[in-house]
C-alpha cells in the first residue's frame, strides 16, 4: 500500500490495492479530485480541470 500527499491540502492518502494509473480518486479531507499518475513510486496530481463550452 502506498501513501501520497494531497497537493491541495497536504492530507496523507493511502492508495488502495488495485489502484490504477489514471484513476480519479477523491481526497477525503478536502474533497478535491485527484488523478493517480504513477504507482512505483506512487504519485498523484490534481485531476484534469473541468471546463464547459458550447458546441454540438
Amino acid at each position: 500500500m502506498s501513501t501520497v500527499t494531497c497537493p491541495e491540502c497536504e492530507a496523507q492518502i493511502e492508495l488502495e490495492a488495485g489502484t490504477e494509473v489514471g484513476e480519479i480518486i477523491v481526497c477525503s479531507d478536502c474533497g478535491v479530485d485527484l488523478e493517480v499518475t504513477a504507482l512505483d513510486p506512487a504519485a498523484i496530481q490534481l485531476a484534469p480541470m473541468e471546463q464547459e463550452d458550447w458546441g454540438e
Binding site: G22, Q51, E52, W54, G55
Partner: protein
C-alpha cells in the same frame, strides 16, 4: 499517401445533411484501401468500416454530414508535404471541424492500430447528425460495444464527458373573441403570462446551480398571434437544453403542470405540443479505463488533459443510453468554428489527435 489524405479527401466531399452519399462511398473506398477487413454502406446510409473479428467490440462513431454552406477546400500552406511552421498548417472546408476532422481521425487511427486479437473496431460515419440523427438512431440498435468513442471537435487535449439534452414544444393559447373594451385577457396576454411562469420556474430551479451543464437553458424561439371573426390565438415556440437530472418527459410534464396551474381568464385554453426529437442529456463516467487511456495518451504527446462538458447535443445522447458502456467524446478541432464560414482545422492538431487516439486504442486492447 500522406498523413492527411483521409482528412483532405473527406472534407473535399461536400455532404450537407441529406446529401451524404458521395462522401459515404468515398469513405468506404478509403477504408478498404487502408486495409479494413470490411467496409460498406449500411441500411441507414452510414459509412461503416470494420477492423478485426474479435468478440469484444469498440465502436468509434463520427458523423459524415455537415451543415449547408460549401466552403472552398484549401490548404495553408498549399501542400501538407511542405515544411509546416508550427501551427500554420490549416485545412479550410465545410466539416473540417464539425465533424469530418474527428471522423477522419478515427479512420486513420484504427488503420494505424490494425487488427488486435480478440477485438473488433467498428468505425462509423453516421448520416443526418445535424438534423434528427437518423444514422445514429439506426446504429444504436445494431451494435453492443464494450466501449464507445463519439467524434466531435473538442481540441486534441480535451476529453468531453457530457452533452446536454434538448426538448422543443409549441404552446398555444386559444379563446373566443371578446370586445377590446371588455377588459378580458387576450390570447396574446395569456401566452405572455404562460412564458413568464415557465421562465420563473426555470430561474428558481437554476438558482443554486453553479455549472451550466446542471442548469435548464430556456429559449423562446418564436411567438405568433392572430385571430378570425370568432376566435383569437397565440403561440410560443419554446426550447430548452436539459441537464442530466431532467429528462425530456420530466420537462414536458412540468410544462403541462405550469400551464394547468395558470389562472386563465374567460374561455382561454392552453395546449403544450412536443415537437421534433427530444434527447436526454448524458454524462459519462470519468473513472473508466477508457478515460484513463486518453489521459495517458494526451500526456504522452506533451499535453495537459482537461475534461469538458458541452451545452449542445451530440450523437452521444442517442447511443449512450442504449449501449450503456464506457463512452466519451473525442476529436481534434475548435468547436467555436462549428458552422462558421471560417471553418478550418490545424493539421498539427489533427496529427496529435490521431496519435493520442491510436495510443489509447492500443492501451485498451493490448
Amino acid at each position: 499517401m500522406n498523413d492527411f489524405e483521409t482528412l483532405i479527401g473527406l472534407v473535399s466531399q461536400y455532404s450537407p445533411s441529406g446529401k451524404e452519399r458521395g462522401a459515404v462511398e468515398w469513405l468506404v473506398a478509403r477504408m478498404k484501401s487502408l486495409g479494413y477487413d470490411n467496409a460498406f454502406v449500411d441500411e441507414a446510409g452510414n459509412a461503416v468500416g470494420v477492423m478485426g473479428k474479435g468478440s469484444k467490440q469498440a465502436v468509434l462513431l463520427g458523423h459524415i454530414d455537415t451543415v449547408p454552406g460549401e466552403i472552398p477546400v484549401s490548404l495553408t500552406p498549399p501542400s501538407p508535404l511542405a515544411p509546416l511552421p508550427e501551427g500554420e498548417g490549416k485545412l479550410y472546408g465545410r466539416g473540417s471541424v464539425d465533424a469530418k476532422g474527428p471522423l477522419a481521425c478515427f479512420v486513420d487511427a484504427v488503420a494505424q492500430v490494425g487488427v488486435k486479437e480478440g477485438w473488433q473496431f467498428v468505425v462509423i460515419g453516421a448520416v443526418e447528425e445535424e438534423r434528427d440523427s437518423e444514422g445514429a438512431r439506426f446504429v444504436a440498435e445494431q451494435y453492443k460495444p464494450d466501449f464507445a468513442i463519439i467524434g466531435e471537435p473538442n481540441q486534441w487535449d480535451r476529453v468531453a464527458l457530457g452533452y446536454k439534452g434538448s426538448a422543443w414544444a409549441n404552446i398555444t393559447v386559444k379563446r373566443g373573441q371578446a370586445h377590446t373594451a371588455s377588459g378580458e385577457q387576450t390570447a396574446a396576454e395569456a401566452a405572455v403570462e404562460a412564458w413568464l411562469k415557465i421562465k420563473a420556474y426555470v430561474d428558481s430551479l437554476n438558482a443554486n446551480k453553479q455549472k451550466v451543464f446542471d442548469k435548464l437553458l430556456l429559449t423562446l424561439r418564436g411567438m405568433d398571434s392572430s385571430s378570425d371573426d370568432f376566435q383569437q390565438w397565440a403561440s410560443l415556440k419554446v426550447g430548452v437544453r436539459l441537464p442530466v437530472s431532467v429528462s425530456p418527459n420530466d420537462w414536458y410534464e412540468k410544462l403541462n403542470e405550469i400551464i394547468s396551474d395558470s389562472r386563465l381568464e374567460g374561455d382561454c385554453h392552453l395546449l403544450v405540443e412536443p415537437t421534433g426529437f427530444a434527447v436526454p442529456a448524458w454524462g459519462c463516467e470519468k473513472n473508466t479505463q477508457l478515460v484513463r487511456a486518453f489521459l495517458s495518451g494526451i500526456r504522452s504527446r506533451g499535453g495537459e488533459p482537461r475534461f469538458v462538458y458541452k451545452t449542445g447535443t451530440a450523437d452521444l445522447n442517442i447511443v449512450a443510453p442504449v449501449w450503456k458502456c464506457p463512452a466519451l467524446v473525442y476529436g481534434p478541432g475548435d468547436s467555436a468554428l462549428d458552422h462558421t464560414p471560417n471553418e478550418h482545422i490545424e493539421l498539427e492538431e489533427y496529427a496529435k489527435a490521431a496519435t493520442v487516439l491510436s495510443e489509447a486504442l492500443k492501451k485498451l486492447t493490448g
